[in-house]
Structure formats: C-alpha cells, structure tokens
Subunit: 340 residues, 6 copies
C-alpha cells in the first residue's frame, strides 16, 4: 500500500565508459532506468512511500531491474512478471560540441506487450493518493495505451491526483498518433509537465520566437504555451522545463509553473553536466514531492528545479539525492564547497 | 573474393566481469560473437581469406560488430545492412559446481528477419571454395532456413565444399522442427560436425551408455553415432567433439573424426578453463583449416582439437591463436612454460 | 512482519582486487556483509520473508549497508539508526599456499555500542517464527551480549525456533569469555551449528584424532562432538560443517547433522573456490530454509551443503543463489555444463 | 588499390588513466596512433578507400597496430613487416593549468630504420590519387627522409595530389635540419598544412605580433604567413590551424585556408577538451576529405575545422566520427542536445 | 636526519570513483593522505630532505601508509608503530552545484591515542631546521595536543623555524576548545597559515564584509585579518589563502602573505578542478619550500600559490609536481599546451 | 650504506589484464621488475638493508621505477641517472595449455648502454657485505659485462660474498657468448644459482635423463650437475631450482642445495599459479636472506623454496611477503585457511 504509484517501463541502460564512443572499449555500464521508474526512485529517496508498476520477464535481467529499485526502497511488489524481454537503451555521453547519443532497443519488451488483464488497477490503487505516468508509456503500443487509460480512469474515480510528463519521443510514434492518444488521456490529468517541444509536437501548441539552440529564454512565449495547455485541458498546474543547451557539457536549467493565477519562473542554474539523462524525470519527482508534501507552488517549483539541477551531477538515470541536499541548494548554496 | 564463406548471426555478447553473477556489479563486457562468425575469425587468424555473411542494422551496434570482424582481417564487404537490431546474449561465467548461464535476447534480430532477396548467393560465392554454416542459423526462422537452403544449393552447384556444425539449441526450436529442417539441408553437406547430444536431438541418433555428466568416454558409442550419421546422409566426414565436464572450471576435451574408413580419436586435453563459449566453433575453424590446407584426416583432427583446447584459455567468443601456436600444442608442448 | 529474524552486525567489507595483496593497487571492492546479514540474504533469495535487525549510523555508509540488503528483498525496517560507525573488515584473497587474510576494524561500531533499550524484542518478534544469531554478536561487548540474551528469552517465550552458529572469533574474545557467555545463551537454542574448532574453543568439547590441515575426515570424532553438544545443551539439532582445506583455492566441503537419533553425513564437494568468506553463513541459511520449509533432516542437510558449495563460487559475503539452483546441485548436476 | 595513401609511423600510445600523473596507478591505456595513421582512420571513417603505409615488426605489437587500423577499414595490406620495435609515446593528460605531457620512446622503431628498398612506390601508388605525409616522417632519420622524397617524386610522376602537414617536432630534429630536409620535399607538395609555429621553426617564416599563449588571433599575421608559404613553394593551398589555448581543458579552435586568391577564415569553436592529441591530424583528414570529395575551398575548410572540433571530444588519437556528424556540426548544431 | 619535520595523522582515504555518489558502485579508490603528510610529500617532490612523524598500527594498513610516503622519498624512519587503527576518511567528489562530501572515521586511530612518551623530540629533531604541524593534530585529543606542545617547545629551544596551518575542523572540536589550545601553541609559531574562516573560528578574528560564497575578494578585509593575527601572536609571516568557490568544479584561488611590512597579494588562478582535497596543504608545502630555499616573500608566495593551483589538477591528497613544473606556471605558462 | 647490493636492469613490465591475449583490450598493467631488482625487493621485505644499483633515464619513467623500489624500502640512492630509456617487457599470462608469452623491448636501455665510468664500485660497496647479480646483466652488452666484472673484482677485494643467478636468456646472447663471458665471472662467485637449463646452455653441463616437460624429477641428475658446477668453479654453494611444469596454471616447485658435502633436496610444492614471473628471483632473495641471516644450509633452502612458492601467488615481479609468512609455510601450513 503506497501513497504514490508510477507506471511505465524500466529499461536496461547500457552506457559507454566516460566519454567513449559506442564500443570504443569492451565495457558497458549496465544500470536501469526509465521515466516513471526514475520518478519513483526520486520519491523513495525523499522518504515517500512509492510503488512502481510495470511488467518484467521472469529472468535474471527482470529481477535485476526489480532489485535496482528495491535498493532505494521503492515498493516493487506490484510489478507483474512475464513476457520476453527487458527493453534496452544504449547511451553514449556527449562532450562539448558532440551530442549525447541514445540508441533504443526496446521493441517487444514485456511491458510494451502487456495486456489490460495484467493490471488490476482497483487493487493496485488501494490506499494510494497519486498516480504518475509519462507520454512514453502510451507510445509503446495500442494495448499499453489502453492500459494507461484504464489506470487514469480508475485513479480519477478514486479521487487520486494524476500527473503526466508529456515526454514526446519521435522514434516511438508520430505527432499525429501522439496527439490523438494523449488528447484522450489529458481529461484525467491534473498536473501536466513538459517542455516547449512536447507542447508543439503532441498538441501543436507553439510559442513565439524561442530558438532552443541559442540559450536565450523567452518568458512571454512560455507563458503563452502554459496558458494554452491550461485552458485546453483544464489542468490544475502546468509545469514547463526550460533547458538552454550551450554545449553537451554546459546547460542552463530552469522551469516555470502556472497554477491558473500566477506564472512562477524559477531560479536558473548554470550546470556543468555529469549525466543529464533523467533530468526531466528528476524535475517531475521534485515537483510531485513538493506538491504532495504541501509546499506552495513557487516553493515546489524551486524544489523541483534544484532537485533536477543536482540530478545533472549524478551518474545514471536515478537521482540519488536527499530532501536535505535539495533544500541546501534551493536555499542558495550552490558553490560546491566541501561538506566535511 | 574470399576462399571460405561462413554465414550466420553475430550477436552482441554481454558478459559479467570475472565470475560475478548477472548484474552483481554495473559492468558488462561487451564483445561480439556467434557460431559462424567465430569460425571466420579462427580462419582469418590462420591466414585464410575468409568472408562472413550476415545482415546487421545500420546503427553503431551493427557497425561495431563489423569492426570487430575487420580487426582480425575477416572480409565483411558481403554483410547486408538493414533490419532493426543486433541479437544479444548475456553470459555469466560459471565456476566449480556453478554452471555458466546464457540468456538469449536474439528474437527479431536483422539476420533472423532477413529475406531470401537480401542475399545473392551467386555473387557471394564468386571464387569461393568452401561454405560453412551451423544448425543455429536455420533455427532462427522459416525465412532464414530457406536462405540457408538456397546457399547450400548454390554452393553445391559451384562445386564448393559444404560444412555444417549441427549445434542444436533447444530454446530456438523443438527437436521435431530441427529434424525436419536439418534433414533437408544435409543432402548438400560434406562435412558434418556435432556432439552426441546434437545427433540425438536433431536426428534421433543415439549411442549406447554414455553419460556425459560422468566424465567417461565410450569410444564404441561414438563410432556408432558417427557411422549412423555417415551412412544416413552420405557425408565425407563426420566429426564428433567429446567434452567431459568435470566442473565449470575443468573439462576434458577431445574429438573423433570418421572418414568412412577409419575412426580417428584425438589426443585428450585436461583443460583448466578461461572461457569455454566458442569452444565448438574453434574446433570447426581448426578442422576446416586443416582439411582446406591439405592436412591428412588425423592431422586435421589433432589441429582442430588443439586449436579448440587453446580457445578454452582465451576470453571471448573468438579464438585469438595462430597456426604456429596450435602446432606447438599439437606437437606436444602443453606444459605452459613461459615463451620468452 | 517477517517470518525469520536474524540479528547481528553488518560490516563494510573492503577486499583487494583479484588476488592482489593488501594495497597492491589503489582499489578496494566495497560491499557489505556479516554472519547474520548473510543468512538473511540467503533466506530472502529463497523467497522467505526475513528481516535483519541491527544498529547502523545515520550516515551514507549506514544507509548503503541497508540498501545492500533491500536490494535482495531483506526487510530492513527494524534496523535502528544511531551510533558512530559501521564496522569494517579488510579482505585479501589467498591463493594456493598463501592464505586469505582478514583485518578487522570493527571496534566502536554502532551495533557493538548498542544498549538494550535500542531493541524492543516484543515488537520486533511480532508474528515471527524463527530467530537466528551467531556467536560473533555476543562477542562484540557486554551490552550486546545482554541484548542477545533478551532476544533469546523473548523468542522462547513466543515459541519461536532459535538457531545459533557458534562462530568463535579469537580476536574478539578469549575461549573463557566465550564459554561463559555462550553457555548461558545455549539454553534458549534449538539448533546449534558449528565446526569442530568452535566446539573445542567455546565449550572445550574435543573430538579425537582429527587434524584439519590434512584433508581427512574422522566421522567418529564428529559424531562424538555432536553427541556431546546435543546432550549437554538439549538441542533439537546439531550441525557440524566439515571443511578440508587443501589449499586456499581448493577445499573439500561437507557437513553432518545429528537429530538425536541419526547422524547424517552429507555429500562432499571438491570446490575450486571463488570466494569462501560467508561459506558457513550460507550453510546456516540453507539449513534454516530446509528445516523451515519442512524438508526432512537429511534433505535439509543436503540443501544446506549444496547451497554453501555454490556460495564458494560467488564473490562477496552474500549467497546469490536460488532454490532452483541449489536443488539442481543437490540432485547431482555439479558438472558445470553451460545453461542456455 | 586505394584512392588515398598515407605514409608514416604508427606508435603504441600509452596513456595514464583519466587525469592521473604518469604511473600514479598501475594502468596504462594502450592504443595506437600517429600523424598519418590518424589521417587514414579519419578518411576510412568518411568512407574513403584509404591505405596506410609503414613498417612494423613481426610480433604481436606490430600485429595489434595493424588490427587497430583494420578495425576502421583502413587498408593495411601495403604495410611492410620487419625491424625490431614499435615506437611508443607515453601520454599524461593535462588539466586546467597543468599541461599535457608526452614522453617519446620511438628511436629504433621499424619504420625509422626502414630502407628505401622496403617500399616499391610504383606498386604502392598503383591506382592511387592522393599522397599524404607529415614532417614527422622525414624527421625520423636520413633513410626515411630519403624514402619520403622517393614517394613524393613518384606521386608527382603519377599525377597524384600531395599533401603535407609540417608538424615540426623539436625533439626529433633541429630547425636547421628540418628546414633543409623539408625545403627539398616542398617542391612536390600541393597542399601545405601547418600552424604558425611550424612555419617559423621549419622555414623561418614569421607573422607579426601573435602571442599564442594569450588566446587572441591576429588575422593579418596569419594571412602574411600563408602568403609567404604560398609564394615560396608554389602550393595550391596553404592551410593554417589556429589554436588558442586557454587552459589544458579549454581551447579555441579555428583555421584559415588560402587558395592563392582568397583567405578563408573558418568558424571558431570554444572546445571543452576530452583529448586533444590528434587534433591537427583530424583537421588534415577533414581537409583532404573535403577537397578530395569536391567541396569548395571554404566548405572543405569548415568541414575540416568541424571534424577536428569533434576530435577534441573523442578519446585516443583516432577521430571516430562520420561525415554526417561533421556536417551536423558544420551546419550549426553545436549545442550538444541528446540525439535519441 | 632530515631538514624538515612534519607531524600529524595520515589517514586511509577512500574515494568513490569519478563523480559517483558514495557506494554507487562497489569500488573505492584507496590512497593515503593527511595535512602534514601531504606537506611532507610536497617537500620530498621538491627535493627537500623531509621526515614525517606519526604513529601507525603494526598491520598491513599501517605499513601501506608508510610505503605510500616512502614512494615519494619521505623519510618514515621516525614513525612509531603501535595502537589499533589507521584513521579513515571517505570522499565523494562534488560536481557543479553538488558539493564534495567527506565522512570521517578517524576516532581511536593510533596517532589520536598516542602518549607523550611515544615521541622523543630531542632525538627526532636532531639536525632538523624546520617543524610543521596543523591545527588538526592538537584537535585529535588532549594527549596529542600535549605532544604538539612539547614538539613546539623543543623546536624553539633548538632554534628551528615553526610553521602551523590553522586548519579548523568543526567536527573535531568546538571553536572554544580550538581557541584555548591553539592560543597556547601560537607562541612557538613563526609562520601562521590559514584562511579567513580559520582566523574567525579559532581566534575570533573577523574581517569585514567578505562573503566567501560570492566569489569576490575583499583585499582590505584580508589585510586586517593578517595584521590582527600578526600583532596578537608576533608571527614572522602570516599567509592567508583566498578561495572563491564558484561551483564544485570551478574555483578561483589566490593567497596573500604579510611579513610585517608588506601585504603581498598573489596572482589569482581560475581553476577547473580535478581534486581539491589537499589544496591548502600544497600551499603550505610550497610556501615552506620557498622560504626554506631562500626565496623572497613575494616569490615564495607565488611559488606556493602556483604549486597549489597545480595540486587542484592532481588526483589524491598528495601533490605530485616538481619545482620545475611549479616555476613554469609561476612564470606565466598556464595555458596547458602539450609538453612534448 | 647498505648490507647487500644488487646490480642489474629494472624494466617497465606491461602485462595484459587477467588472461587476456596481448592487446585484447586497451589496458596494460604497468609495474616494474627485473631479476636483481626483484631480489632487492624480497630482501627489503625481509627487513634487510639493501640497495639496488642501476642506471635509469632522467624522465618520469625512470623516476617511477625508482619510486616503485622506494615503496618497499629499497635504497635507491646509488642509482645513476642518464641515458635514453627504460627497458620494457610485455607479458601475456598463460593459462592451461597456453603458455605465458614475454616480448622484450629492452635494447638501448640506459643500463645496457652504461659505461664503466658510471659506477664507482669502491664507493658503492662502502660498508657492504654481499653482492648479487644475474647472468642477464652481462648479457646486455660488452660494456655492461665489463662493469659486472669490475664489480665482482672489487667485491672480492673487499671480502664480500658474491652470488649469481645464471639466468640464461637466449634472446640476449648465444650459448657461446654466454659461456665465454660467464666463465670469467665465475671465479669471483661464491654462490651459484641456476636451473638445469642454465647449466647446460651456459656451461655445457648436462644431467642425464631429465625431461622437464614431464613433471618427474631425476635426483641423481641434479646432483651430478651441481657437483660438476661446484668442482669446476670452486663455489661455496650451488643451488638448483626444480620446476616441473604441468600446465601454465599448475607447477611443482622445489630446489636443491649442494654445499660440497651434502645434497639437500627441499620440500616440493604443488602450486596453483597467480603469477610465476620472478619466481626464480624470489628463490634467490630467500636463499640470500637465509644464508645472510645465519640459517643452516637446509633451513636456508627451505626458506628460499617457501618464499618462491608464495611468490607464485603474488601478482607482479616483486615478492610481497614477510619473513613470518615464509616461515609459516616452511613450518607446514600450506592449507590456505583464512587468517583472521
């Protein structure tokens, strides 16, 4: 019986050592991760009672994925076992002008082939207060999209909060498919998280004049996008992450939160990156924690941005940071002086 | 234009470090291998002009597989590019009473989804003298079994020698399916290589009284099996590898070769194992080299067994040994004294 | 609410790489382990609902110890937090005639400084059926010995089974101290596990004519020791592990179990060792599993010996093996053939 | 039969791990590299049919050097085998204000001791269109300088394009020796590549007022140097690389190309460095590719600078990048956003 | 018989790999270090005859600590053996906004439990000219503080120069305890080294208006602090290090030296950090070398700052740099161009 | 002023990881070693005051070689600096029937190019009691052979004991050259150490009927060889090591010592090898220690054999073992039980 339930795919992440190109040596760093699993780990690290729901095969790889979540205290008892494989993504870390590169090998994974009968949402949501998923999950296939919808419906019936990170992935579906499917799910969603690209690709909502490759932020454009999303789907909150990519090593990172009344723009962090994969998920984890634990809008936003700033300094998909560490950064200590 | 052509799948091999259990640490040793690719590498290391034929996707993983073959001088210019993925196998190395463990994740690989139109055998075999494949390749799917048959047919038309390692894999097909498919291919095969289990599982040919878990060899039983295979399919040679597994670290290893006249039993090696995956393939590579380069039956057999004895001391699927090294062992120096 | 509770110290284990001598390079393999924690992990791997009870400091090292147990599904919710440090042991793996070497740096660890008030056994044992501890725990200090006694008492009150591995450690206490303290605890113990050295050092019980450095076993001597222990303390079972050390790499391993009626001697395994630390603990884990799950005496003994045979092939203190793997070995497949 | 031939030394490169000082741990990263070999690998990665010519000993180190080139598809069939040793360079990567350090141990290498009779240039150049070498090769010894001259002569006879990277190495020869030898080779050269230091040290050609330690570029000075080189040796193109070293981690990198008519100055990249060794070679590889594949002067220049910008983000001497990756950067995407 | 004697604790330093969080993988980098040991290594690397005095246990860890110092040529013959343990510190390297983290496990180390009778200062100082210690040593315990005082007294009697780095550690003692103890030691000290925090915490001496988290330096404030220290304790020199922490990766680093007449402010370095632990110690080592070898005040200061700038680029506590390397940087070459 | 002086070459040893073939991955284990340096390290580990004499270049590699000896407490103050390079040997560790392989790249090393004027033996031997060298040193060149002779002469003049390990290396000189040079040196030698191959190759002294590849020892043959050596050169002791190579992993190891009266045959050890390079040197180190410290012939022999047995379990050329560890083995504890 967990307070927060996240649902999606957890993949085997296979990363080249350091800044090596794919297969430049014979070693791959094998860890696990995936949008909703990453959110679950963030929440577990903040002390929240959280369960991750998915389907994994009955082999040592599926078990290792589960163990990697148990390590952080995520409740894995609701994960279904079966199917053929754990999805994989290969990661090559970029540097300077060379971008990071991701190769997906996730087709036919157990979760992508799951059937609605695999998940008894009434039981899964017993006692739960919050449901989180991302736009990646329904993109995995028709059946899983259907499962998502059932989950959302049941969550609403039970009066749970539903949050969704749009997370558009062009290699999983077209903008048309994404739009059609996500449109239907939005009616159950309370909190919508995304970036300007998601809004455009999934819902055709465009801001004016922001060129993400240049590093400048256009506040008015973001407000416009947030407002359009808010009005179209009647969300409670719309959060937009603002990444200005200078090089693969250096990004500026901030976010805004619109609660229907005010547009809150967070502090911006100039980040020297260790690993940026999972950055958006750590923002979701922070925002959910903030709102779930009763912070005010702007405080929850600052918590989320500080949490994800720290994620960029942590290897792997998972955000190994504590509430205390996030709050220290929120409160202004970003100078990196040694803590003895 | 190569002298010998091998055809099959090359997979990404992901092995745990040392004797660690799967995912006991975060590192996987990523190399490449597969029955027929392993044979090609053996032959290239012996100085033979050899090409490996397969289908690999147009991504960095497919390219790395190709590069790993080019490294040894294997001709990769005949490999087709396309399809979705490189097959994977995960390997956990056993020790003492704990067996090695292999998990396959090879479904939907590019080669397993290949179509007959992908391969123009007339062109591929231009100038070639020998064709080698294994029972794994037709086991990958109906279409690929068809491709194998076309290749065999064309090879025979061109007067090439055809060798086949039976290599039964229970997770790829049933004994019934294997029997039906392999039966049809055997008519093109000159040299059949297998072990007692292959003969039984694929063709229902059984010897008497050999219990492979006990470490004793039953010469008469092996002769019986070889003879039955020889007579049923009119092979030129039948080779049977004889592995007596004492523990995961220690195996006795030998082979026999039947040429229709004599049953040659090789020297037996008591091997302290470094990596036994690819052991059978290195035997095939050695036997093909021996026969192709004009050795007499018993000499070719001893070369093959010595070559595969050495493979057991080499990490990875590929057998990094030279003709000189194999001959030194054949000629009796197995004491491991330092070569300065 | 767990079925089985184990109680003791979990240490940071710092092992040299491979067979390197201490500090021969700059790297230490940092994992966690300790007698009772190891037993808990074995049981969790067998699917038992097990909790480990201890005290660990409120820092990242204490947390990592907890995480390492959660990874395997051990219930860590009963672990107390506080005190100053996690105990450490340094391990240098031996080879051939060079013995393995352990340096302890465990004084002043949180658990060794714990107070009786830290543990509310009534609550801890709520719903539990079995309590396990070892002779190492009371050896850590007067207060912790007192805590052990309280736990044993409460377990008996509640009708739980109590098992104890004698595990004499000469660097923690003298034979006199050990004898006095352990004597008092034995009245609560149902199942006593030890080797011939423990029996002699702790209780002065000696067999005749066994020289453990020679590799021969003296069945009558072991029976004698078991009988004396059984009669003196009215145990239900006495189990004795029989290790014949040939070299640091090669040991023969077996055990006997006396149930007051019969002396069962297990199968003996000739083991080529990967890591023998935790071997005895894996025997306890196997024996507890066997008896707890309703196996007959001789079956439980064979399960325990097979389990600990496998442990010798696994790096680290913890025994990463499943019931299925242990049963395969019990049922005779110790030849290490590749499992595909 | 390759289109482009490069000629020179390939060395064993032994680099400390990460930013460790020499021998700070017991591990060296052993790869291969050398000016002309690096150019060959760049070209092979761009899909060009390229051969590398050199001399390497008949041992496992010489063979490994060859294999490392075959991996990328470089034609190694023209490499001569013989002599005693593979040259070595040790590399310690600098950081911030601490410079990178190179220790050469290349004397008496097989190529440096080669005789003119080792190379039959008429045969080597059969069907080839371009010959590339650097000023390092003739610096290795009198005999090898003679071989270079023969190669240049033969290349010109055959109407091939000849390119040369001046690459002055003060530890190999004096400025006087370099000037005398290089002067004689320049008459065969069409495309001269160098930096301001090369021009000064080898030919005494100096620009005015550029202090390379300050990070400012003096366009007029570079034009002056290019013009002087152009006029003195009647080149077709003079390319000058412009490195502004801020620290060992951060460099600005650009280049100019003079074609006798116009002075093209490239885009400048602010690079956060992964490995800068081989940066100049990757520029040559890019420029040769650009001109060979028919790009216009300024496009070839931009391709070369973008290619070498990317090289600074790749570990090792070799530039593992594709034409597509270089063009993406040329076309302005240097923000390092993840490519999924 | 050494010229310079340093006295204090040497610890086992256990650092996570790269930028990993504590125990994110199973590996720890195990080296040795400690304030005064680090100074000794710096001096040995500059060619000074230096001895380190401490107490270490008679086990392999104590011996490894000694060996790590002998490696650099530090005289270890005066180190006493005995006691129970080598102190430990765990280090997690910070990145960007995430600070580095140190966990100490140094209580009960051999040196912290040492008795005055362990050290015969008359003998230790035979022939020596300089004594150096830090404020960490007396903070380890009452007895060791007493030993420090005896050493200082004896050093003064013998006319030796005494230098002290204040190095306040809040986890070892309170500001009140530090003030009382250090006050009494200052009468023997000639050269006092510290930063603004030390001056405030130990002696309550505060500058005006410097906020160390902002990156700006307040020259007048530092002068004030230096003057107050100078006047209160009648030092010959007061050196203050000036660290402006921008992030965990980027610091500005400079220092000032007051000799009673002039306030010298050094060159400031913008450092991209590899490892900043031991940065202050390397400053002390440089300053002692400069003054001991007869440099003028400002030259010694510049040497010390350049030396410690380089330390920030070297992994581990010890500063592996030579006099030549430091002088190259002092003389202005901080551009990191490759040294071939 | 050391008691024992050893003289020869120390090389950079570059070993493949684990059992990998040369360059099978990109990593080399870089340590240092060489016959006489190895003996010096053994002696330092036994607490003897020992100096190693050689010549090494003034670069970071030469310095690292020195540091590696200082680490163990070897006096390096007599090592001359100069010349061009540190010799290298590449090592690939064998396994089972695959032999270990050594590739030397030692020509032109500083010591091999040394001149007699580099070494002032009168000064070097000041206060020394023992001089040790091996047959490798004079094999490096004419000049170094001359230096050896001068050293021997001076040692004899000073009444020192002179020991020599014949150590014939076929790749350094012919048997004829070896015989001529070594013959002249033998007149100064008191203790001659070798194996049966050395005796035959260097002095043409042959035993009867021993086939070293078979694993049987022929006691009478060894006696015969020892006696012939003894009588021809009037040694005080002749020691012969007896290695029976079963495979690269398993060797039997023993030795004999002839003192002109008795033939002592040592205990034989069946060794499971970790690293056998330096095995003979560790025997010399043990024998010198035994005789130097006053043990009787047979005791010194047993010490030497036990010491070298342990060396086979230690990675690297150097024998990291203490007198206590050797004595434990001598006294019969070779069972490898864990030392806690």
């Amino acid at each position: 019986m967990a307070d927060i339930i996240t649902f999606g795919e957890i993949m085997l992440r296979q990363a080249s050592d350091g800044y090596l190109r794919f297969f430049q040596n014979d070693s791959l760093q094998a860890t696990f991760g995936g949008g909703e699993a990453n959110v679950a780990v963030s929440l577990a690290n903040y002390g929240v009672d959280v369960a991750f729901v998915s389907k994994l095969p009955e082999n040592d790889i599926g078990q290792a994925a589960i163990n990697s979540l148990r390590y952080f205290g995520v409740d894995t008892s609701l994960i279904q076992r079966g199917g053929k494989r754990v999805g994989i993504y290969y990661l090559e870390k970029g540097a300077s002008q060379r971008p990071s590169k991701v190769i997906y090998d996730r087709a036919f994974s157990s979760i992508s082939m799951a059937e609605p009968s695999d998940f008894d949402w009434d039981n899964i949501f017993h006692g739960a207060k919050w449901f989180h998923f991302t736009g990646i999950t329904p993109a995995l296939g028709k059946s899983i999209a259907e499962i998502c919808k059932e989950a959302c419906k049941k969550a609403k019936e039970k009066g749970m909060v539903v949050s969704c990170d749009l997370n558009y992935r062009k290699n999983l579906w077209s903008t048309v498919e994404a739009g059609e499917t996500m449109e239907k799910l939005m009616e159950y969603v309370d909190i919508c998280i995304g970036n300007e690209e998601d809004a455009e690709k999934v819902f055709g909502i465009q801001e004016t004049n922001t060129d993400v490759t240049k590093g400048k932020l256009n506040h008015d454009g973001y407000k416009e996008v947030a407002k359009k999303l808010y009005e179209r789907f009647h969300f409670k909150y719309v959060a937009i992450t603002l990444r200005a990519s200078i090089t693969a090593n250096d990004n500026n990172w901030a976010a805004m939160l619109y609660d229907g009344i005010e547009y809150h723009f967070s502090n911006q962090y100039a980040i020297h990156i260790v690993d940026r994969v999972g950055g958006g998920d750590s923002f979701c984890g922070g925002l959910i924690y903030g709102l779930f634990s009763g912070m005010k809008s702007e405080e929850a936003l600052e918590f989320a941005v500080a949490a994800s700033c720290l994620k960029h300094t942590v290897e792997g998909d998972f955000n190994h940071v504590s509430v205390e560490e996030v709050k220290n950064l929120m409160n202004g200590d970003g100078t990196g002086r040694v803590q003895r």
